[in-house]
Symmetry: C2
Subunit: 257 residues, 2 copies
């Protein structure tokens, strides 16, 4: 053995969180579930929490039986056999529609937050009740800050938080987890001005570490395994107040809208 | 403590790999560098290896002084102040041009492999010599299989391999690592037919785990830190022969080309 210790970190899923309902203090729930599995949350941990439990804690659920579809929603729904009330909720959650493929029932939206994704993040999976759907949190950075705060109170630990959601991509098959909210970290790590191994200055390499952290956590979360939070331990994330809008490309420089 | 052990895995950067040159057996080099830092590669490990060292081992470097730019390359280069010989190499490595922004010198290409990315993966960073640029491996799945084979020979360990590269995305700022080659694993994990926590059947949730593994590894690699390989240990990746084309969206169903 020689040289400095290699860089390493660990990813630990938090199990036993159970069903979350409106008003739950998610930070406390995570600290307590982690303790029950023998994991004490520590200073410098990075917590990734799925959008679904955040939305549930914030009461961001809608009962489709309460929704009156607009003519546009009914029209978009008719070609694809989707529920027009679900399409109506999607339209209400959208700032703009980026693309539709009526035959396949695909609606790619820009959300109020600026995220471009299918169905504006409106989701029917992992929501109790046949007619209930979940909406994205209103302000996911605020949600993340609340979790940071509640974890500090419950565990005395100073952590970073990423709220994750599962999105598709242009050009590539398969979904990946990415960040829709952050607190306590800068979502982008900028290597600008650093030199590479050959001594050349790297001109423009800004890495979306918040998205990579969300993707990392998905590997212990799976989709139906009851692991809505994960601890990333040992990764020195770039500290910062956290502003997810740093991850949203400005329309003016976006070649694909 | 109660319940089953929480899901967890570990990520370990491999340092001390040094400069790679054409003909190097990368699998052997990685095994030996890992040993030097006290890490024995084990059955079930998933190795992520950056494109740059794979390209170097395969001699996929071009000297710009040998390149004669075409009129098209000269024209594309002239508005942005880029080297016309570099633009020529980009055009040669492209199957099609998806978008250009001449003012900002951006060329989004479809590579011969079907990947959509800036500059067809042609890269000037971390390449020795002022005029040398690196190309993507010709067949990154074959490159990955060779590394799997060489690691089995050198360490007696049966591993999966992901070749990673750093790409931009539509709609989002910041680059992330993703998979351009795989061996020993299925790049997509399909939850189709499994039930969610509420007992509803998940209809279409296919996760691009190879991309998430590549993103995970980036967190220990950084951009200029001399860590071109990482071991992901304890994650039960979906076994499979490995075919990166599973990650490439068919043009016919792609709404953004």
């Amino acid at each position: 053995m020689s040289g400095p210790a290699p860089p390493r970190f660990e990813v630990i899923g938090v199990t036993g969180i159970g069903e979350i309902t409106a008003g739950d203090r998610l930070g406390e729930t995570i600290v307590s579930a982690a303790r029950s599995q023998g994991t004490a949350i520590e200073d410098g941990d990075l917590l990734v929490v799925t959008q679904k439990v955040v939305s549930k804690a914030e009461g961001r659920l809608v009962d489709l039986r309460d929704i009156e579809p607009s003519p546009l929603a009914s029209e978009l729904a008719s070609t694809s056999g989707r529920d027009p009330r679900l399409v109506e909720v999607v339209l209400r959650e959208s700032r703009s529609i980026v693309r539709t493929d009526p035959d396949r029932g695909i609606i790619i939206c820009e959300t109020m937050h600026g995220f471009v994704c299918a169905n504006a993040g409106v989701d029917t999976s992992n929501v109790p009740g046949e007619w209930m759907v979940s909406l994205l949190p209103e302000d996911p950075d605020r949600s993340a800050r609340k979790i940071v705060h509640d974890i500090a109170e419950a565990a005395g630990a100073d952590v970073g938080v990423v709220i994750s959601d599962t999105h598709g991509r242009a050009w590539r098959e398969g979904l990946t987890n990415l960040a829709i909210g952050v607190a306590g970290l800068s979502p982008i790590l900028d290597y600008k001005g650093t030199t590479d191994m050959s001594g050349q200055v790297l001109s423009v390499t800004a890495i979306a570490v918040a998205d990579e952290l969300a993707a990392t956590a998905e590997l212990v979360m799976g989709k139906a395994t009851g692991v809505p939070a994960a601890i990333i331990r040992g990764y020195a994330f770039p500290a910062g107040p956290g502003d997810t809008s740093d991850l949203v490309r400005n329309r003016a420089t976006d070649l694909f809208r």
